[in-house]
C-alpha cells in the first residue's frame, strides 16, 4: 500500500484515517481498563478479607511522596493537554515545548517512584525478598501484609511500565515535532498519545487512594 503524504494507502480520506485512529485508541484503552480491572478485583477481594492488616500496611508507605507524585502527574496531564491544544491550532514550537515538559514531569514521577521502591527495599517490605512486615509479627500477619505489598508492587509496577512506554512515545513525538511534522491539519499522533497519557494518569488517580489513603483519617 502506498502512502501519500500522511495518508496511508488503505484509507480513502484523512477524515477516515483520523476516525480510525481515534476509535482504535479508545478500543485499546477499553482493553487497558479490563487489564487493570483484574488487578483491582484482586485488590478489592483481599482488602475486604483482611481490612485491618491492609490498613496497617498502607500506613507504612510514604504519603508525602505519593501525594507529591499525584500532583506531578496531574501537572503532566495538563501539559499534555496543552500540547494537544497547541497542535490543533498549529503552534509548532509550543507543541514541542509542552511535550518536553510532559516528559520531564513523567520522569520526575518515575524517579520518585524509584525512591519509594528503595525505601520499601530498605524496610524489608519487598515480597519474596527477605520480607518481614514488623519484628515479632505473627506468621499470618506477615503473610497478609505481604499480600498488600504484592499488590502494591504489582499495581504500581504495571502502572510504571505504562509510564515508561508513555515516555518512549513522548520521545518519539518530540523528535517528530521538532521536524515540524504536526500541523493544524495533521496532529493525530499527538492526540492519540495524549489519550494514552491521560488514561495512565487516571489509573494513578485510582491507585493513590486505594494504596495510600485507605487508613489515614
Amino acid at each position: 500500500m502506498h502512502r501519500t503524504g500522511e495518508l496511508f494507502g488503505q484509507f480513502e480520506t484523512m477524515d477516515q484515517q483520523r476516525e480510525s485512529a481515534s476509535l482504535g485508541m479508545w478500543v485499546f484503552l477499553t482493553t487497558e481498563v479490563l487489564f487493570f480491572g483484574g488487578m483491582f478485583m484482586t485488590y478489592t477481594l483481599n482488602r475486604s478479607t483482611y481490612p485491618e492488616i491492609f490498613g496497617e500496611a498502607s500506613r507504612s508507605i510514604n504519603l508525602t511522596l505519593g501525594a507529591f507524585n499525584t500532583v506531578v502527574l496531574i501537572g503532566s496531564s495538563l501539559t499534555m493537554a496543552m500540547s494537544v491544544w497547541a497542535a490543533s491550532v498549529g503552534k509548532k514550537q509550543l507543541v514541542t515545548m509542552f511535550l518536553i515538559l510532559t516528559l520531564i514531569l513523567g520522569s520526575i514521577f518515575l524517579g520518585v517512584k524509584g525512591i519509594e521502591y528503595h525505601e520499601k527495599f530498605v524496610e524489608h517490605h519487598v515480597p519474596g525478598l527477605n520480607f518481614s512486615f514488623e519484628p515479632g509479627a505473627s506468621v499470618a500477619t506477615n503473610a497478609h501484609a505481604q499480600l498488600f505489598f504484592s499488590l502494591y508492587f504489582a499495581m504500581t509496577g504495571l502502572h510504571a511500565v505504562h509510564m515508561i512506554v508513555g515516555a518512549g512515545l513522548l520521545i518519539w513525538l518530540i523528535k517528530e515535532s521538532m521536524r515540524g511534522r504536526f500541523t493544524a491539519e495533521y496532529n493525530t499522533p499527538v492526540e492519540m498519545v495524549g489519550l494514552y497519557w491521560h488514561f495512565v494518569d487516571i489509573v494513578w488517580i485510582f491507585l493513590f487512594p486505594l494504596l495510600y489513603l485507605i487508613d489515614r483519617h
Binding site: G9, Q10, S20, T31, F35, M39, P127, A143
Partner: protein
Amino acid sequence: MSTTPAARPSATPGNILPREHYLNATYGIRSWLLTTDHKRIALLYLVSVTFFFFIGGAFATMIRIHLLTPNGYLVTPETYNKLFTMHGVAMIFFFLIPSIPAVLGNFLIPLMIGAKDLAFPKINLLSWYIYLVGGSFVLYSFSTGGLDTGWTFYTPLSSVYSNSAVTPAVIGVFINGFSSILTGLNFIVTIHTMRAPGMTWFRLPLFVWAHYATSIIFILGTPVIAITLLLAGLERMFHLGFFNPALGGDPILFQHLFWFYSHPAVYIMILPAMGVISEIIPTFARKPIFGYTFIAGSSIAIAVIGFFVWAHHMFLTGESTYAALTFSLLSYLVAIPSAVKVFNWTSTLYKGSISYDTPMLYALGFIGLFLVGGLTGLFLACLGLDIHIHDTYFVVAHFHYIMVGGAVMGYVGGLHFWWPKITGRLYPEFLARIAAVTLFIGFNLTFFPQFILGYLGMPRRYHSYPPEFQVFNVMSTAGASILALGYLLPMIYLVWSMRYGQVAGRNPWPATGLEWQTDSPPLTENFDVTPEVTWEAYDFENRPDLGLDVKGAPSLAPAHGDD
C-alpha cells in the same frame, strides 16, 4: 449427486487466472515476512495454526492410544497429565482461538466490506509476530518437559506445587493474548470505518457480524486472562500469595478471573464458525438467509450474555446456592440466541434449492453437531445434573462437540468455501466430499461414546479406568483414527489443488458477497475500483451479474441441474 464442479456455469474450463494478484505481486521470503497485506498475513496464520493443530493432534493421538486399555501401557501417569494439558494449551490458545478469525476473518473482512485492507495493516502483521513469540515460549515449555496443570492453570497447583515447565507456558499464553487483542481491535475499527459506499450495517454479511461479536470478546475478555496469568506467573516466580491459601490468597479468585475470559473464549471459537455457516447455507440453498437481523443480533447477544455465565464452571467449588442458581439461569439464556441461529438456518433451507457441495456438507454437519453440543450444555448448566456429570467424560464430549464438531467443522468448511478465492483454484470435489463424510463419522464415533462414559461415571483427566469402560474407549480410539484420516485428506488435496486444481473464476458457486465480485485470487488492493453496494445481503433475485437465469425461490434450478 454425481456432478463435478465443471457443471457450474461459471467454473467452466475457459477460466484463466488473473495475470496479477496478491500471490504473485512480489516474490521472496521478505515479501512475505514483512507483508502488510491482510491476505498474505492470513496465509501466514494459516500455516502457523495448522502447525499447532498437528502438535495438538499428536498429543491427542497419544492420549487415545494410551486409553485403549484400562491400565494404559503407553505412558506413565505423570506423562499422561502432561499430554492432556499440552493438547489443550496447543489446541485452544494456538489453534481454535486464532483459527477462523485470524485466517478467514483476516482474509475476508476487508474483501466483504469493500476495503483495501484492515484499518491497521502493520498492527495486523505485529499480531502475527506476537503469536509466534507466544507460540515459541509454549513450544519451549513443551520441549523442556511439558506442563501438567491442565490447560486451565488452576492455582495453587500451577503457581506453587507443579514441578513442570509451567512458567514458560504461562508467559507464552500471556503474550499470545495480545495477538488476539490486536486482531479484535483491528476488526472492530475496520468494520466501523472502512465499509465501502452503500455497505450499511444491515447489508454486512453475517460473517462480518459474527466477527464483530467475536472481537468484542477479544477486547473485553482477553485482557483479564492476561492479568490473571501475570499474577499467577508472579506468584510462581516470586512466591507472592495472590491465589495461594497458605499465604492468605484465594485460589477461587483465580478460577473466577480465569473463567471470566475462558468461558467467553468458547464463544470466540464458535461465533466465527457460525458466521461461516451463515454464508454457506444461503449460497447452497440459493435463498436469502431467513431472519437476517435475528442472526446478526443473536451473535451480539451471545457475546454479551457469554460474559455473565462464567461461574457455571464452578458449581462444585462451594459457591453460594444463590450464585449457582443465578449462573445456571443465565447459562440457560445462552440457548436462546443459539437456537435462534439454528432455527433460522433450517428455515433458510426450507424450500431452498439445495446442492450438496462440500461446504454445504460441513454446514449441515455443523448444525447437527452444534445442536448436540449445545443441548448437552444445558444438561451441564442444570445444577442437579451437573453434580453427577461434573468433571466426567460427559463434559469432555460436550465441549468437543462444540469445539471440534462446531468450530473446526466450520473452519474446514469455510476453508473449502473460500479456497477458490484464496488460491484461485477449486479443490477436487469428490475427494472433498469423502473427507467431509469421513470427518463426520470419525468425529461422532470418537466423541459420542464419551457421553455414555461420562454418564456412567468415568472421570476426565485420569490415566486409567475400570475395565468395564473399555469398550467405549476402544470405540472412541477407533473413531479418532478415522478422524485423523479425515484431517489428513484435505491437507493433501488442498495443497495439491494449489497447483493442479481447476481454475475457479471469480464466483464459482455463485455466492452473493462482495468478496466474489473481485478476481480469484484478488489483487493486492482487493478491488480495481472501490465497489458501491446497491443490493441487500444474500439477495439472489436482483443480481443479474450472478448469471442465474432464475426468479422466485422455490423454482430455482439446482446448482447441479442434471441430477
